[in-house]
């Protein structure tokens, strides 16, 4: 057994596999528990209830309110935050949970009797994480049988990043300012309406919107020096889709037409007080200074999307799934920039005091993406699946740049009176992909509970990248062999194994998957009704041994999850996960042209302990502790203990108090750590 497993997994992982199998095999004989496995993550929201409070999994039960069947749950309260040390900005960049009144979660389910004449049969409404939270979510689902189905999702996500960077003009003065920071709010809307969904022919309409907006800090680069700029960015994408479905008992055909309309507007200006940049070096004996900058960026794009989908079962032993998408995206840009100060142009070998740039750019991307899947049931226990895919596009882009250098003077030679110089440049680029892939897989049911599969995948890629300076073209073929095994026994134990081995004759970029082996082993076992165990082992080894490249990388992961819940009043769970990422390559130092070897190593370990205990009169206490530690190129540790206590007050109301601590530390890096306590108190109304 050890030898067999060692053939697939590294030596240090093989013992873990044996332990997992040791649990798996006896469970085939023992026990007959059928309860679901729950979740134990302290931050996983409703997952906790699956372990400790199975009786509340249907949140409120259901009550009758007039003609409606209703269930609702609302949790609202207040959170306090105590910053115990470290970087506040680092905390905001990672966690960003703040102080104030919060609507932690709310849901409403309303069902009316079918065919009752009300505008819906089912209404579901959820509203989670509101009150200054970094990710607000609202979802609405309405259904009227045979008339319509409507889904609406709203998300408002705050992307905040203010993490110190190396290239900081004020670093010498002890000011840790990020030159690349942002505080962007992205609002997402997805709406979908299906009309007369049960009809043979029925239409549907969909609308999506993504809009990002907020302040940004970025840099202006001049001859190796960077200056801090302030910007406001505002981009939006509106997607409109509409289509017709034709559905019979053996055929489902959909034809859809849509369009994406994209806008990106940025206004950038120089932040006064940072004109000396982050480099004190003189260039040709002159300081580089920025005194003013204004930049405007306006991009407009449209992408018509035509899509056809087909599902058919012409005979009971054959099913066909196909989709074809044609797009022709284009984008136009109007960009202007003006800046002033003292600069040097290496290209012109002149100093200058200001520059006016104007850029017009255009790009286009026509493309086809399609696939056809055929599934043959050759025998009640054997089926053959073939998937053919094609993906073709080319992107042609060009930019025309007009530059006016003001008050230029030569860097060398006798001084001359300043003069303006006008330069016009043009850039063109072509990038294209022509990909064909075919995968054939045989799936055999060895037994009612055991399925084995094996197959082969061939991929051909023709890739071209052309600019005025160089032309790259790579034609590559990849041969991949796949195998898998799924073993499931009476819902008490399940084992999955996947293997993939591939060989590639060439790749376009260095780190792409070339010659690789991939294995994944997963097991879930429930030997007793109160106890369940799951584990996984995964590994991927990739290398490209071409002369001058010699690249190798690996990614391994393994983990175990154990849960014991002898009664609804007591649950304990333990997770452990470990990962190992590494890459190894040779490179040439540009300064010395000597060859050296670079190795990246990242070992990580994550552990999580969770305990939930029911006390008197329905009160509960929950304790948890999660810790992540990494070693190697980038060591850090991250602690997250928590405690929660709840008491039922009667009338469907309970009171909850909680504490959570976030402790983050990047070892050896100043101001890249934080320690924050969060306290919360809330009322939970269940109806």
């Amino acid at each position: 057994m050890y030898g067999l497993l060692s053939a697939f997994f590294p030596t240090r992982i093989a013992p873990v596999a044996i332990v997992l199998l040791g649990f798996f095999l006896p469970s085939v004989v023992w026990g007959n528990g059928l309860s679901q496995r729950g979740e134990t993550d302290p931050q996983a929201g409703d997952e906790q209830q699956q372990v400790s409070q199975p009786a509340q999994a249907t949140p409120a039960g259901e009550r009758v309110w007039g003609p409606f069947t209703v269930s609702t749950q609302i949790e609202a309260g207040f959170r306090w935050r105590d910053h115990a040390g470290g970087s506040r900005e680092m905390y905001r960049s990672q966690v960003n949970l703040g102080r104030g009144p919060k609507l932690f979660s709310s849901s409403l389910n309303l069902a009316s009797p079918p065919e009752s004449g009300y505008p819906w049969d089912r209404l579901r409404f959820t509203f989670d994480n509101w009150g200054g939270e970094p990710y607000n979510v609202g979802r609405l689902s309405l259904t009227k049988n045979r008339v319509y189905e409507f889904d609406f999702n709203y998300q408002n996500i705050q992307y905040f990043n203010f993490i110190p960077t190396f290239s900081n003009p004020l670093l010498d003065q002890g000011v840790f300012l990020s030159q690349h920071s942002f505080d962007i709010s992205r609002r997402l809307i997805h709406a979908n309406l299906e009309l007369w969904p049960n009809a043979t022919v029925h239409p549907y309409l969909a609308y999506s919107r993504s809009r990002g907006e907020g302040p940004v800090r970025t840099t202006f680069d001049a001859e190796g020096d960077e200056f801090v700029l302030g910007a406001n960015v505002r981009d939006s994408m509106d997607e409109y889709r509409g289509g017709i479905r034709f559905r019979t008992s053996r055929l489902n055909f959909t034809l859809e037409q849509g369009a994406r309309i994209f806008k990106d507007d940025q206004s950038v200006s120089f932040l006064s007080g940072f004109g000396e940049g982050n480099s004190r070096l003189l260039v040709f004996g002159r300081p580089v200074v920025l005194t003013g900058l204004a930049r405007n960026y306006h991009a407009r794009g449209t992408t018509p999307v035509t899509r056809a989908l087909l599902q058919a079962t012409p005979v009971s032993s054959l099913s066909v799934d196909a989709q074809l998408t044609y797009t022709n995206a284009d984008l136009d840009l109007d960009h202007d920039q003006t800046y002033a100060g003292s600069f040097v142009s290496f290209g012109l070998l002149r100093a200058f005091t200001g520059r006016l740039d104007g850029t017009l750019a255009k790009s286009q991307r026509p493309g086809i993406l399609g696939d056809v899947g055929l599934d043959f049931e050759l025998h009640p226990r054997f089926r053959l699946n073939n998937l053919f895919q094609v993906h073709r596009y080319h992107i042609s882009g060009n930019a025309r740049v007009n530059e006016l250098f003001q008050n230029t003077t030569p860097l060398t030679g006798p001084p001359l009176p300043p003069q303006d110089l006008r330069v016009t440049e043009g850039f063109d680029q072509l990038l294209s992909l022509n990909l064909h892939r075919n995968q054939v897989m045989g799936i055999l049911e060895l037994h009612r509970d055991v399925t084995a599969r094996g197959g082969y995948r061939y991929t051909f890629r023709e890739t071209r990248l052309e600019t005025e300076e160089h032309r790259d073209r790579i034609d590559s073929s990849q041969h991949a062999f796949l195998a898998g095994l799924a073993w499931r026994l009476s819902q008490r134990a399940e084992l999955n194994l996947d293997l993939e081995v591939a060989r590639t004759d060439d790749v376009f970029f260095r780190t792409a998957l070339s010659d690789y082996e991939r294995a994944r082993f997963r097991v879930r076992v429930q030997p007793f009704r109160e106890f369940w165990l799951s584990g996984h082992i995964s590994e991927q080894e990739n290398r490209d041994e071409k002369v001058g490249l010699d690249f190798a990388s690996h990614q391994r992961g393994y983990g175990v999850n154990v849960t014991y819940q002898p009664s609804p009043r007591f649950a304990v769970a333990l997770d452990y996960n470990a990962g190992d990422v590494g890459s190894d390559l040779i490179f040439r130092l540009p300064q010395t042209l000597t060859t050296d070897r670079s190795a990246y190593v990242e070992d990580s370990h994550y552990g999580n302990l969770y305990l939930d205990v029911g006390l008197i009169r329905g009160s509960r206490v929950t304790l948890g502790y999660g810790v992540l530690g990494t070693t190697g190129t980038f060591p850090l540790n991250y602690h997250q203990p928590l405690a929660r206590f709840s008491i039922p007050l009667g009338g469907g109301i309970s009171w909850t108090a909680g504490w959570q601590y976030y402790g983050y530390n990047e070892k050896g890096r100043a101001l890249q750590d934080y320690r924050d306590h969060l306290f919360s108190m809330s009322l939970v109304l269940t109806y």
Partner: protein, 307 residues
């Protein structure tokens, strides 16, 4: 050459198709049919013994079966999935005389569900997907009898996925991650749980195979100057979508560790390494490449992604 390879991999099944056509008509359906002699007895007869099951049924979309609005199953919701129950009733509840999901093969279970759900857009590509190829039964995630939601999931959508994908759960606990465990999004915002013919069952956006562009629309382009790995590979060439120790969720902890893996080739002419970095990367000033190469996903102004 490429077509030769495609044909070579396809030849096996092409031959088998021809051989199979002749026996199609002899195949027995795996899903519950209507064996001779069995008749429908109605939900009330089922509830006489299985008292609690119809209650759970009412919480899910399958309550509509009882009304028979589309599938001609009025008053026969149980038998719509389990087949006619007369012999089962007459046999004193003999489980061999009705279609029993726990006793059926995975394929037969899924076929039973596919009778109604098979030809829907959500199921497109199910059989070719990883879930389909491993014969994942619908009942692993869904329960008709003990549904916790209208969509008949056994647990919340996120908990349903993480029940098996515990490595993803560990990734979501890394310092920088998509806010799935916090409820800001769900797995289904990026993945197709039922099907999809992409390796990771990704949703597609705007004619690309990248689900990321559903939200990160500003990275979609097309750009006048494309960064090839983004377009030719996908976002995961550089990013870990679930969680990372890098603030930008890169596959390497530091920016330069990632960039230099491509931009430091020692042999001229190796694709993807052009141009090689010429900076003195030993200097801290040059160890965060995106300080200057701001528009690393693609630019419309600068061929070297400066703005």
């Amino acid at each position: 050459m490429r077509w030769l390879g495609v044909l070579r991999s396809s030849a096996f099944w092409i031959l088998l198709v021809a051989a199979t056509v002749s026996v199609w008509s002899k195949q027995e359906p795996s899903a519950p049919g209507q064996p001779e002699g069995r008749t429908y007895v109605g939900t009330e007869a089922c509830a006489a013994c299985h008292e609690d099951l119809p209650v759970g049924l009412q919480r899910s979309v399958h309550a509509l079966l009882e009304k028979g609005t589309r599938w001609n199953s009025e008053g026969q919701a149980c038998e719509a999935c389990h087949g006619p129950g007369s012999e089962h009733v007459e046999g004193g509840g003999d489980p061999e005389k009705i279609f029993s999901f726990p006793r059926a093969t995975r394929e037969a279970q899924n076929e039973a569900c596919s009778k109604c759900h098979g030809l829907t857009q959500a199921q497109l590509g199910r059989r070719s997907s990883l879930h389909g190829l491993s014969e994942l039964p619908c009942t692993n995630c869904h329960s008709v009898h003990a549904a916790k939601s209208f969509s008949s999931l056994k647990q919340s959508p996120t908990a349903t996925c993480l029940k098996c994908h515990d490595q993803a759960k560990a990734d979501f606990r890394r310092p920088f991650h998509h806010k799935v465990l916090e409820g800001g999004m769900t797995c289904a915002d990026c993945h197709q749980p039922h099907g999809g013919q992409d390796p990771r069952q990704h949703l597609r956006a705007g004619g690309t195979t990248n689900a990321c562009f559903r939200c990160h629309t500003d990275k979609q382009g097309p750009f006048a100057f494309e960064h090839a790995p983004l377009r030719l590979g996908d976002c995961t060439s550089c990013h870990v979508p679930h969680g990372s120790i890098n603030p930008k969720m890169l596959v390497r902890a530091r920016v330069q560790s990632l960039c230099l893996e491509c931009h430091s080739a020692s042999t001229p002419g190796i694709p993807g390494a052009q141009p090689p970095a010429f900076h003195d990367i030993r200097s801290p000033r040059f160890q965060n490449c995106t300080t200057c190469h701001v528009k690393i996903h693609g630019s419309n102004v600068s061929p070297i992604f400066f703005q």
